[in-house]
Symmetry: C2
């Protein structure tokens, strides 16, 4: 007669131990199946987005496991928010080096579970594989919104106001600070300001609360992940328009303002560096008040930083009327 | 005045050159947005599945680019078919070493485009990132089916017949052959048989045509990716049942039959090795004829290999009444 087989691979055990406890949504089927189901409410579209983070590329190999989990999920939630969608769930594909230990997985899965709960975005399934390379976390996130209402990159129109949420440049400056802590003295930062920049780089805060206001009032939107200058330029290309941005109005934290005053090159870093995970969107003049009120009611700061005009390209205007030259990132000159 | 910015990163250029041409589905939005949309027909669920393949783990680093593309997508299509779902689209997350060249990307994206067309599964979006590690292709695939009809692992019931599509063990033997070509002589294979095994390892053929028959007639189903023995054991655990398999009835190709006759250890490899990408499913006795007729009409061979019984575990019975001992894969002893 047959003895009872051990019908559980190492992968099954890992999933059962670390990921099943955070996958309680009925669509996840307890993570024992090969697939999950997703059922949008009637009259709704599903918005899908995928973003991967790689150790040594998108985060430091010695970043804490919980910070990596937060970053991996939140960069996707940021995309959903910018499109005006409410999170509905995600799939996790984890490529792990053999040395990944149980303690790391415990911290990683707990942080992922905490975010899944916080943002109403349950883990629905995924895949775990071994890799001889660096830890790689690929997430596909799903959102829902009323059919046909996804806010696109290509909707900006001449005359629209350009608005951004939160503050710009903190994460890019936080990354500089992480590479050379002596900058904190040069920028004359308080301990709190130093920690503000460091946190903004380490753990993004997606603007999920703003999604509904973006969907109701914006003509175009995207999240700022590759730098305000480059991402706004992409929006302009997609929409066939240009933008004029008033540099003095770009919202900066006190830390970013101090860095910008220490040397203009740090202002350029703030405007063209990445990892902001704020939302940049365009709003018709007759909807500006309504958008600003809605954002206020949702508890998210938004700032009007410029206008959409005819032409091509993005101009960053300084208070003296000069145009700031940005040479970094996806920009060359302008 | 502003000069025209180069609002295209290397990533944008790569996407525009290689992936935009194969992403013509309206939901893909021309791959210029951060997200795509998916709209299931009314009364349908979306089935989602994710599977990643890593160079040096799931395929050989010197496998041709088109074979890697086929494998990466088809392992996902195999999951959808086993769940009874019709393909609806996929997201591609490509983690590429810096040395990945244009010729490779061209061959890869063309093969992916050809499969997207062949299986009616359009590219909807994704992400491309650099990695200091091996090439890693993570795909999330979407399928649709009438609400509530996804075929699960846990539906097998006592008395059900166990059926598999196609032939079992070819890919696992093809992998052995690739590691030691002298086996071909030992197994007395013809050139055609050698090539059959090699191809079955290199490029899976998902049983997408069978999906509708599985959905209509099967009580439980999964695709055979980790070996028939291990995967059937997983189904039994999920369903709280046991299975008795008649080894003589397990469908083998002429090549696999020759290998099995050369040494019983190769029969064990065939039954417990992975990468078959066939479908194993369970069918009530009163639906068996209907399922077999439906499969015949769809042009997919299915074979009745055993029964679901009370208890736990999977027994592989030899013609002499003995039980075959499998020690490989997710099994230990039985």
């Amino acid at each position: 007669m047959a003895r009872k087989p051990q019908a559980q691979s190492n992968e099954d055990r890992l999933i059962a131990r670390h990921f099943k406890p955070i996958a309680r949504h009925p669509g996840a089927l307890g993570l024992i199946d090969d697939a999950a189901t997703l059922k949008p409410p009637p009259g709704h579209d599903i918005v899908i987005t995928a973003d991967a983070v790689v150790s040594g590329v998108h985060f430091f190999p010695d970043d804490p496991a919980d910070a990596i989990a937060h970053k991996a999920l939140r960069v996707n939630l940021s995309d959903l928010a910018a499109k005006g969608a409410r999170p509905a769930g995600f799939l996790l594909t984890l490529a792990m080096p053999k040395r990944t230990n149980d303690g790391w997985l415990k911290a990683f899965s707990r942080a992922l579970g905490a975010d899944a709960k916080r943002y109403g975005c349950p883990l629905l399934g995924g895949d775990t594989v071994c890799t001889p390379g660096p830890l790689t976390v690929s997430i596909t996130a799903f959102g829902v919104l009323p059919a046909g209402t996804m806010v696109r990159r290509n909707g900006a129109r001449v005359g629209d106001h350009v608005l951004v949420s939160g503050t710009i440049g903190d994460a890019a400056l936080g990354l500089q600070l992480r590479r050379g802590i002596q900058l904190a003295r040069r920028w004359k930062l308080s301990a709190q300001e130093r920690s503000h920049l460091a946190c903004r780089y380490l753990v993004p805060e997606p603007r999920d609360a703003l999604a509904i206001a973006v969907r109701k009032h914006a003509t175009g939107a995207m999240d700022v992940s590759d730098g305000l200058a480059g991402d706004l330029a992409k929006m302009c290309v997609a929409s066939g328009v240009a933008a004029v941005i008033d540099v003095a109005r770009v919202p900066l934290s006190s830390a970013a303002r101090k860095a910008s005053m220490a040397d203009r090159k740090w202002l350029v870093t703030a405007l063209s560096g990445g990892d902001d995970y704020e939302i940049v969107c365009t709003v018709r003049p007759n909807r500006l008040g309504a958008f600003q009120s809605a954002a206020r009611a949702l508890g998210v700061a938004v700032t009007d930083i410029g206008r959409i005009v005819r032409g091509a390209g993005v101009s960053f205007r300084l208070p003296n009327g000069q145009v700031l030259t940005l040479a970094r990132g996806s920009f060359s000159h302008f």
